[in-house]
């Protein structure tokens, strides 16, 4: 089973590395969001460092949604989904492969957006990096865990990709709240002991929704 998950993961990665369709869009959009926030937060320029966690995660969430939309939109071309559905594999395996690929794309995008934010907002971070990596990783995993399921749902509706943000954002609110707080703790207060709770909530979210999505995926996947 692991080999099959890996095969699906590899295939998505291969296509993306060749076309770079998703990544380009996600990166560009993420940076555009940063720029917009720069203008939006002009009046609080002095304390902008405290707003950075929120800005970052909004940028991550928006560009992540773009990536999730592409996840199944790409399979619609040539009805590739049909080919996948004819395979003697559990639907949950397809879920895991695609979810992991989406996580990788999002993480790549997040690193780039973060670097740009360091430049735009004049920040310096060194010791904080391992903790940031941890928070970004768990937050992203939670995002894609439920995002992959909801993307499969929305792509099958009349509104297609437009529906995804509408149904995704209420659901991932716990991830956003905790991720922003955790990032803020790392960048602003540096009281790492308080990281335990948000990280725990995000991990619980990821495990719970990863499991539910794995089990329910067969019901939503249709051509």
């Amino acid at each position: 089973m692991l080999a099959k998950i890996w095969a699906i993961f590899r295939k998505d990665l291969l296509i993306e590395l060749r076309t770079k369709d998703s990544l380009n869009a996600m990166l560009f959009f993420g940076i555009v969001v940063l720029v917009i926030f720069n203008f939006a937060l002009e009046s609080v320029r002095e304390s902008i460092r405290s707003a950075v966690p929120g800005v970052l995660w909004v940028a991550f969430a928006f560009s992540g949604t773009l990536g999730l939309n592409r996840m199944f939109a790409a399979e619609k071309e040539n009805s590739c989904l049909q080919g996948l559905l004819m395979l003697p594999v559990d639907r949950g395996v397809i879920y895991l492969g695609k979810m992991l690929a989406a996580t990788v794309f999002m993480l790549i995008t997040e690193v780039v957006i973060f670097v740009f934010s360091l430049v735009f907002f004049n920040l310096t971070v060194w010791n904080e990096i391992p903790y940031l990596v941890l928070v970004f990783f768990i937050g992203t995993l939670g995002f894609t865990a439920v995002g992959a399921l909801l993307s499969a749902i929305s792509v099958n509706t009349k509104m297609r990709e437009v529906l995804l943000p509408l149904i995704l954002f209420p659901v991932i609110l716990p991830i956003l709240v905790n991720a922003v707080e955790a990032t803020s703790i790392i960048l602003n207060t540096v009281d790492y002991r308080t990281l335990k709770l948000p990280l725990t909530i995000m991990s619980v979210f990821t495990i719970v929704f990863g499991t539910i999505s794995y089990l329910l995926f067969e019901y939503v996947l249709e051509d």
């Binding site: 060749r18 076309t19 395979l87």
Partner: protein, 232 residues
């Protein structure tokens, strides 16, 4: 081999299939005819497991009882969509599907499959560069990579040139000769008549006509087919 009883499929108020009965024996080649929207595609998709029927019974490989997953392993489905990843090469496409079907995915094994559909030499190009006919051939290789006992085809000759048509005819004749069971939806009545042993016409959501080829000449069949289509 395949048992279908009372199959119905509704999309809201619209009925694609109403009360379809069909019994397919091992090794039979059935040509499915019918007007556009008569339900041929819906029927094939339900057999393939891509769509759930609203009511009715369906057994694949009866009398065995299979899980849906096992049933998928014994079928291959080819529609007018190729289900190929346009940005990957033929080799990469087949390697992906081979891995997921637990088939040997070494370059040598795949090269053999590619050669069988006459695409050797172009296997390292992205599928996007292929002509329609070439894509169809690769789609055939993909759909039947695991040499399934049941072949389901939905209008496979659409958009093929003479060369491609000849190739597919030979491919299907070979599969038939090796004892594979085939269900093929087709518009071209003479072609379907030529390839099949049994002719089924779906009209108004039921199997309105179900005869062995031996029982009718092509002209007789086409007369009855036309009569059914005009019946309103």
């Amino acid at each position: 081999m395949i048992e279908v009883r009372g199959l119905a499929k509704y999309f809201g108020r619209f009925s694609a299939l109403r009360d379809l009965h069909l019994s397919v024996g091992e090794g039979e080649f059935i040509a499915l005819f019918g007007r556009n929207g008569a339900g041929k595609t819906t029927f094939l998709r339900i057999l393939a497991g891509l769509s759930r029927p609203s009511s009715g019974e369906m057994r694949i490989l009866a009398p065995h009882v299979l899980t849906p997953r096992e049933a998928r392993g014994s079928m291959g489905y080819l529609s007018h969509n190729t289900a190929l990843y346009a940005d990957l090469t033929a080799l990469e496409n087949l390697r992906f599907f081979a891995r997921l079907m637990n088939l040997p995915s070494g370059d040598g094994d795949l090269a053999e499959k590619i050669a069988r559909v006459g695409l050797l030499g172009r296997e390292r190009e992205p599928v996007r560069n292929y002509s329609r006919g070439m894509q169809q051939r690769l789609a055939i290789a993909r759909a039947f990579l695991h040499d399934p006992v049941i072949l389901l085809l939905d209008e496979p000759f659409t958009g093929l040139d003479q060369h491609g048509t000849d190739f597919l005819k030979a491919y299907l004749a070979d599969a038939h000769a090796r004892g594979r069971t085939c269900l093929m939806a087709i518009h071209d009545a003479p072609l379907g008549y030529e390839l099949a042993d049994r002719l089924v016409v779906i009209e108004k959501g039921v199997a309105a006509l179900d005869v062995a080829k031996a029982a009718l000449t092509l002209e007789q069949f086409m007369d009855r087919y036309k009569a059914l289509a005009e019946e309103r």
